[in-house]
């Protein structure tokens, strides 16, 4: 598979751009065969991830860079069956082991963003980037109930007008 991201967006860490990022991800996920509910949840995870970067990574600075990259995923038969999203920043690096979120047996605020991301996505991994900043990789598979046929069919329909 080509390693290049199919979509790569750079935005500043301004909350005003979060809605645009959510809508982009949600729209693309819809094309990749996700149902509306799952699209919404993926967008929620992206929103939480971006909020975490802005709030904790950049301490609310509004002029720092954030990159969102997206790859469609395919199963062994070559059919689209999910999406991989990577969010990168230049914030201070932290120990990925501390980005686990927490169990909610005790009900208290704080650290909930990571928990929400882990709750709605199938696979979540935090790591340090090579030089500076953090990288969050998230994977969501198309639920079995959905027919992942929209990628080819939908795009063909788009070309036809």
């Amino acid at each position: 598979m080509d390693d290049r991201a199919h979509i790569r967006v750079e935005l500043l860490s301004n909350p005003a751009y979060l809605s645009g990022a959510r809508e982009l991800i949600s729209s693309v996920c819809k094309r990749l065969g996700f149902d509306d509910l799952t699209c919404s949840k993926v967008a929620l995870a992206v929103d939480e991830a971006l909020c975490n970067v802005i709030r904790h990574g950049y301490k609310h600075s509004e002029d720092r860079p954030i990159w969102i990259s997206l790859w469609p995923l395919s199963n062994e038969a070559g059919q689209p069956d999910g999406v991989k999203l990577v969010i990168e920043d230049e914030a201070e690096q932290v120990d990925p082991e501390k980005m686990k979120g927490r169990e909610l047996t005790d009900i208290r605020p704080g650290g909930l963003g990571v928990h929400i991301i882990r709750d709605v996505m199938d696979d979540v991994r935090y790591e340090r980037r090579e030089q500076v900043g953090m990288r969050l990789t998230m994977i969501k598979r198309v639920p079995r109930c959905c027919t992942p046929a929209r990628l080819s069919g939908g795009m063909a329909a788009d070309r036809g007008g």
Partner: protein, 161 residues
């Protein structure tokens, strides 16, 4: 192409739930008389009550505000956590918790449903990570349950002082 629900925390950082009735938390629960201020509005203590403050504080029995109508998301989460810690199943607390199920902040919704589950042993199928169009009927289930348990007529009026 329509974009599925893409609500998120960032988009709602500076918004409030519209008051759908005169009830706290955007009027999730029917019945009761309209409060003197919106549930999430800023309450101004009447001047004629100011002299009571030191008396109450000195007496060591200062009323602990419920906090479910606090302007700050953090304060509302604190109120939820306090309810979870106390195990308080009073109608007023339950009503306040149910009002938080419609919060724009997924973390607040998560805390609220987990606390309600702890206090009542049920969720009625509510999922904090669902988009609003899907949460709506589950919130209504909570409202219906509250009405059946406590009745709209007996629902305590929000105490704003």
């Amino acid at each position: 192409m329509s974009v599925p629900g893409v609500e998120g925390r960032g988009a709602t950082l500076k918004t409030r739930l519209p008051a759908r009735s005169g009830l706290p938390g955007g009027g999730l629960l029917p019945g009761g008389s309209p409060p003197r201020t919106g549930w999430r509005g800023t309450y101004t203590l009447p001047v004629h009550r100011l002299p009571l403050i030191p008396v109450v504080l000195l007496a060591g029995c200062a009323p602990i505000p419920m906090g479910f109508d606090a302007p700050s998301e953090t304060k509302r989460q604190d109120a939820i956590v306090a309810a979870a810690a106390s195990g308080d199943r009073s109608p007023q607390t339950l009503r306040g918790l149910i009002s938080q199920l419609d919060s724009p902040d997924p973390a607040t919704r998560m805390l609220a449903i987990r606390t309600l589950e702890r206090l009542t042993g049920q969720t009625f199928g509510y999922d904090y990570s669902d988009p609003s169009w899907k949460r709506e009927r589950f919130v209504q289930a909570w409202v219906d349950w509250y009405d059946s348990e406590y009745g709209t007529a007996s629902a305590p009026e929000a105490d704003h002082g």
